[in-house]
């Protein structure tokens, strides 16, 4: 069984990437984290995390076509691999398990 876990930021990146789906590159991933999770991020931090995830084969990438509004530079589209999906589920299970049994964190307490 794959026991690979993600850091909190890696988990955010993976979830944002999965929410954006097909056209997931730096800009929409960063936006998704900022708008949905409310956490400000730099594109550099997003790419650093994506690079680490790719190194661990949790995401794969492919280059798109260059566009004029990007100064003729291509987009790099990212996709979660099966191992990446497993890592997200493992991390979720770990977080949920840790969450249980903490009365202070029950809904309505804080």
């Amino acid at each position: 069984m794959d026991r690979r876990f993600l850091t909190d930021f890696e988990l955010m990146i993976m979830l944002a990437l999965l929410r954006v789906r097909e056209r997931a590159y730096g800009v929409p991933i960063a936006r998704e984290i900022e708008e949905t999770a409310g956490r400000p991020v730099t594109l550099a931090a997003v790419y650093l995390a994506l690079d680490r995830l790719q190194e661990n084969r949790l995401v794969s990438s492919e280059l798109g076509d260059p566009t004029p509004e990007r100064g003729g530079r291509a987009k790099k589209f990212f996709r979660a691999t099966p191992a990446g999906l497993r890592a997200v589920r493992n991390t979720q299970r770990a977080f949920v398990a840790l969450w249980q049994g903490i009365p202070e964190l029950r809904a309505g307490v804080v």
């Binding site: 730099t42 594109l43 550099a44 931090a45 650093l48 690079d51 566009t67 990007r70 100064g71 530079r73």
Partner: protein
């Protein structure tokens, strides 16, 4: 196309990551209405993260860059060093070392020694950039970081020795580089040296265009 801040773009193009996707992302977001401050902040972050990525991906190349930089720097100091500084001070101000031992007038030598030192830093930076393509930006930053660490460490030692001896230890054999460059102005040197290395290193970089 909305024109992003010129200086930030120049620095990003020269020192930024080899992978240009992030540069494209920054341009796209700026075009979509982000502020100049946002662009600066993101560009500097991209430069730092590019250096981290390169260091992680190619540690051997970082070692080569640092070795090229320090070898050329030490060679420049060994070949030029005191001799050129002496000659230059004599040429410019009729300064003479033997006479200086009596008169205790060392400022012409100090100025010329600093000039020679900065030439060494500039030359080493240019060589690092020329020989570490295509990742010269991150490699130059790695070399700059190594120089700053050594200079800062040496400056601290000089301060301690000065405090212990009651005077600036010039020339100090253990810190020859620093003893030429920094004793008279080490505080400014800690700013000027990395600045000179980065600016002169950038002169040896490939020209990348904003619109490719």
């Amino acid at each position: 196309m909305k024109k992003p801040p010129t200086v930030a773009t120049t620095i990003l193009m020269r020192l930024g990551p080899e992978d240009e996707c992030i540069i494209g992302d920054l341009l796209e977001e700026y075009e979509a209405g982000r502020s100049r401050w946002w662009f600066w902040h993101q560009a500097l972050s991209a430069i730092v993260s590019g250096a981290i990525l390169q260091t992680r991906a190619r540690p051997a190349r970082v070692l080569v860059a640092v070795a090229i930089g320090w070898t050329s720097l030490l060679l420049a100091f060994a070949l030029l060093g005191d001799r050129v500084a002496d000659g230059l001070a004599g040429l410019l101000w009729n300064w003479d070392r033997q006479a200086a031992y009596v008169s205790d007038v060392w400022w012409p030598f100090a100025i010329c020694a600093a000039m020679v030192s900065y030439t060494g830093f500039a030359l080493s930076a240019w060589l690092v950039s020329r020989f570490t393509r295509p990742a010269e930006g991150p490699m130059l930053l790695a070399y700059t970081a190594s120089v700053v660490v050594v200079l800062a460490g040496s400056a601290v030692m000089i301060e301690i020795l000065t405090w212990l001896n009651g005077r600036v230890p010039v020339p100090h054999p253990l810190f020859y580089i620093v003893s030429v460059t920094l004793p008279y102005q080490w505080r400014s040197g800690l700013v000027l040296v990395p600045l000179v290395i980065i600016l002169c290193g950038m002169a040896g970089h490939r020209r990348r265009r904003l619109s490719s």
